[in-house]
Structures are given as C-alpha cells and as structure tokens.
Homo-oligomer: 361 residues x 2
Amino acid sequence: MITQAAIATFDSLDLDCGVTLAPVDVAYETYGELNADKSNAILIEHAFSGNAHAAGDDGWWANMIGPGKGFDTDRYFVICSNVLGGCRGTTGPGSINPATGAPWAMTFPPITITDMVRLQKKLIDSFGITKLLAVAGGSMGGMQALEWAVAYPDSVRAALPIATTSRHSAQQIAFNEVGRQSIMADPDWNDGNYYDQRPPARGLSVARMVGHITYMSDESMRQKFGRRLRAGQNKFEVESYLQYRGSQFVDRHDSQGGFDANSYIYITRAMDSYDLTQRGSLPKLFENIKTRFLVMSFTSDWLYPAYQSLEVVSALRSRNCDVAYCSLTSQYGHDAFLVEVNEQTELVRGFLASTFREAVK
Amino acid sequence: MITQAAIATFDSLDLDCGVTLAPVDVAYETYGELNADKSNAILIEHAFSGNAHAAGDDGWWANMIGPGKGFDTDRYFVICSNVLGGCRGTTGPGSINPATGAPWAMTFPPITITDMVRLQKKLIDSFGITKLLAVAGGSMGGMQALEWAVAYPDSVRAALPIATTSRHSAQQIAFNEVGRQSIMADPDWNDGNYYDQRPPARGLSVARMVGHITYMSDESMRQKFGRRLRAGQNKFEVESYLQYRGSQFVDRHDSQGGFDANSYIYITRAMDSYDLTQRGSLPKLFENIKTRFLVMSFTSDWLYPAYQSLEVVSALRSRNCDVAYCSLTSQYGHDAFLVEVNEQTELVRGFLASTFREAVK
C-alpha cells in the first residue's frame, strides 16, 4: 500500500466565530493512488481522540482500510487528516500563536465541526479533487460526514455516517462536560497554561476513563471483565483496565505522546455545539442533496443510540434521497464501529463499488 | 407524625475483614409509634449518598414515608439509620479512631454491605424488635434489604428490594471507580488526610456529576434540559445543572455540610464488593426463606437494569418463595425509585397491609 504522511499549510482559515486563523497546518495521510480523473478519493474522518494515522501499522481503522479491505486501497485513494483543534499535527490550542510566539492554550478561538470540515475542503481542493467518491467516519467522524454532505453537496458522491448523530443529546453533552470538568479540576491544568510545565494528567486520565465506559456496553464489559479480580491485587479487572486506558491516553508510549487536554476541551465543545438542525429541519437540509448515504448504527451503542441515526435516515427518505440504513447487531457498544469489521466491510465494499461504477459512467 | 432523631452507641461491631470496631455509633431516626407487640416496625435503607433523615421536611423519601403515605406512619413504626462508613452521624472514616485520637481517614477498616446490616441488626435488637415487618430500600438500600432476608431470614417478614441487584456488574463497578479515581486525583485528597485542611472538593464534585448522569435516563435528560442554553451564558442547561449538583454535594447549605470524600470511597467499595452469590447460588440462598418479597425495577433505569431484579425474582420463584415483581414504566432512570411515588405507593401500601394482617394473626 502506497502511504504518504505530510503536513499541508494553508494561508488562512475563516472560522464560524469570526476569527481568521493564519496560517493553518493540517496533518494528513494518504493510502493508495489517486487515479487520473481523480474520481477515486475517499475522505476518512476520525473520531474525537483519533488522528490522521488511520491505516497501516497501529492505524485506528487499519482493519477497514488497506488492500482488499472495506476501503480498498487497491481501488481507492484514501485520505485522513487530523481535525482542526487537534493535537496530532493540525493547528490546535497547543500550536504556537504567531502573534505571541507562545501556545494559544485557551486563547485559541472556539471551533466547530463546520470549521473542521471547511479546513478539510481546502485540503481536498489542494489535491485538485473536485468531487470525493465518499466521506466516511464514525462518531464525531460521522458528524463530519453529515456536514460534508450538507455543506458541500456537489463535492461528495457518497456519505457514510456511522454510529453518529446530527446533534448531541443532553446525555452526550453531560458525559463530555464531566470530562471537561475533570480536566479543569486538575490544578495542573492551570487555566490551560501548562505547555511548559506538568500537564493535567490526573484530570485527563479520569476524563478518559469516563469515555471508555461510554464506548463499551454493559454486556461487553460483563464479557470482558465480569467481576473478575486482578490476580494478586484486591482490585477488579475493570478497574485496572480503566486506569490503564486513562494513563495510556495521558502518556502514550509512541512518538505521538499524550493527548493534549486543551484539545480535549475544544474538540468536545465542537461536538456538543454541533446541531445541523439550527440551519433548518433535517428534511429541508437534505432537499436537494444528490449524495448517496449508507447510514449504520449498532444495537448495543447506548452513547449514540440508533434513534439518532434513524432521525437522519427518516429525513433523507422523506426527501427521496438515496439512503441505505443498517442496524448492525453487536455487543460492543459505541466501540462497535471500530471492531465489527466483517459486516461493515461487506456493506462498505458493496456501497463503494456501486458508487464508483456510477462515478466513472 | 411522632419523630425522633438519635444516636445509638454499641460497644463493638465485628467486621467481615476481621477487625472489631469499638465503640460504634449509629445515627437513626424513627417515625410513628412502635406498637405493644412490636410487630409494626419497618426498616428503611438509604441509598449510597443518603442518610437517616428519610421522612419529614427535606427527608429523602418524604413522599413515601408519613401519615397516609406508602409507608404509613399512622400504622407503622419506621426506622432509618445512616450506614456504617457514612458521614451523617454513624461511624465512618471521618470518625475519630479512639486508639489515635485522630480521624481514621483511610486507616478505617474496609467495610461491607453485610457489616452495614450487622450493625442495623444491633440497632433493631436494641429496640427489642425480634421481627421486622419489612425492610425496604432502593439501589444500595435494596442490596441491604436482600442481605437482611438472607442473613436474618427469621427477623424479616417482608423485603422490598427496589431498583437493585445481588451484585454489581462491571459497568456499575466502572462508574464507581471513576468517582473514586476522580477523588483520589485531587491533590487535596492527600491520601485521605484532609480533615484539618481543605477537602478534595473538585474531585468529589466531578465524581458526583458522573453519578447524576447515571441516575437519570437519556429521555429524562432530554425532557429536562434538551439542548437549551443557560440564559445569558454560553453554556448548556445540563452543564449548569451538573456543576450545581456537584458543588451542592461538596458544600451543602444545611447543618449537615458536604459529603465526606472518604465515605464516598468506602461505601462505593462496599457496594462493588458485594456479591450475594459468593455464598452460594441465589436459588440455594433463598431455599428456606419465609420472607415475602416485593421486587420493583424501572423501565428506563440503565444503571440497575431490570434483568438484575429479574435474577433475584427468578431465583425466589424457583424456590417457591412468596414474591411479587413489578416493572414500573418510568422515564426517570434510576432516580425513579425516588420520584415515581404514585405507583410505588399503591404497591407498597397493599403489600405492607397484607403482610401486617399475617403478622397479627
């Protein structure tokens, strides 16, 4: 698989809040080869804590992207970029504010899902791609897939919003708020000014622990841990697991280092504030959309429950849009979009193949 | 309603861990009058963060306990005591260790649900009550109701375990562990030694916020908050609510003051470690039990899902025990046992009346 990792820099990006960021970096990776008429490009959108490294060794969706896989890099040119506000190469609160020479920290302007997608549009334009074959992503990535279809309907042949929603519920906002409060309760957070000192590792770790509970299901936790005790310790396996995942998030033992706590705050706020319906009812927004949709949800996903996907599907159907919806049976909760490879692969492969046949007609 | 509030002191209490606490205080309240043959006593068990003040002004179950209410104080003598390990008058980690003259803090011995019930038995014995008419409680209180029936089957005519389980699932343990980690991540926790300085208010507040999300349902949060913003603030209503509930827990504006963070740790550990099935299968444990049961769960309670109540009910039925089970339709999640008064009142009133008729035969 031909793989490239790079950082693109754009002169400026206008944000929804009115501020213009200048310049802006975007870290991205590509897999496979763009064909001559540039009709085989697929943009993959990562979830909240993801990054541009979607495929290859340790890629967060390596089981779905590669030669012969659901997103088949022998046929398609796959692009994945780190989101605006992130901490994996794209401009975010940990980046240097050119006006001060110091990290933005909490002076970074508030960002939105729409801003993230606007920056991705620049990246896609820079490749000379006028129409993406597909945009696909789960969770926050699915929000971006929806946003692409609504904001740039002529630039997307197909959208695959997976385990996602057009707007967060009160419960989803609540869980994110707990994470933010946990970070901000850590004295080391220091109002976001920790880049030259100890980061708020404890607060960030607890935030991540909460996240992991919401990504799993009651059933998958029972099967994975039950009430088993950790050997030799007076501690439940599930406690050790959460502590491990929390500390791993804070202090990753790879080149990327830990996740940036301020990015956690900015990105979760972008998710919470996103509400497609603020621009009109969903049926109205989908009125003139030619984009094809494959919408998927998972039976045990209680964080992004199926009814949220069905809201999108119903609106698309009411406007006679081309939409396929699959509720996949899984016990893995929200994590299912990352682990239920077999069924997703079949669905994605067929959906992309028929979209591609249309594209090259 | 005749009300009494008092503290009973017992010489000693043997704990499951092998330690003997001496002496032990128990804060309790009583409502109504004990009849001549002491056959009308009902023990009410509070949930995790509750206390002995169950009825009357601001009582946590005031809507269920009182003259003419479900637990009718014109007919019954109702007792409620603060649990062992608590911070509302009963001996706990914030109490003085007589051997040192300083608060126990984290040197307090580990406690169990069984220990809590053993202490309650002493309290009941001190009233000269040989057989309780009923033991009732929701959540952790329901665990204690189950424990009473199994540990002292001849001392309980009827048990009402509500929205509860015979053992925590991995998910329930996980949410409690996040709360504990949040407290312990707060530098002010100081390994539990904060009684003469600033308590870990921020960590405790975040722990409580997580708790509140799990007590509500997706639906009840949607109805109560939706995506409404707080007037004049760039903040969701649900965020303000959680922050308020978190800080209120830490710094209550009444005579009781804030909840003790070490009690949070000790009591949640007692809940997590509780597993009735360690003493044998549930059917086996219920083999010779004459206690009558009214088991209730709530449709939207995802923290203590109905299947956990049904496990208990199935086991009781398999041994031909006298058990009624009601799944009550509610949108209030786990909080339903505190707010769904009407249906519970009818069920409790009828169940207690028939039990009492049997008792005085």
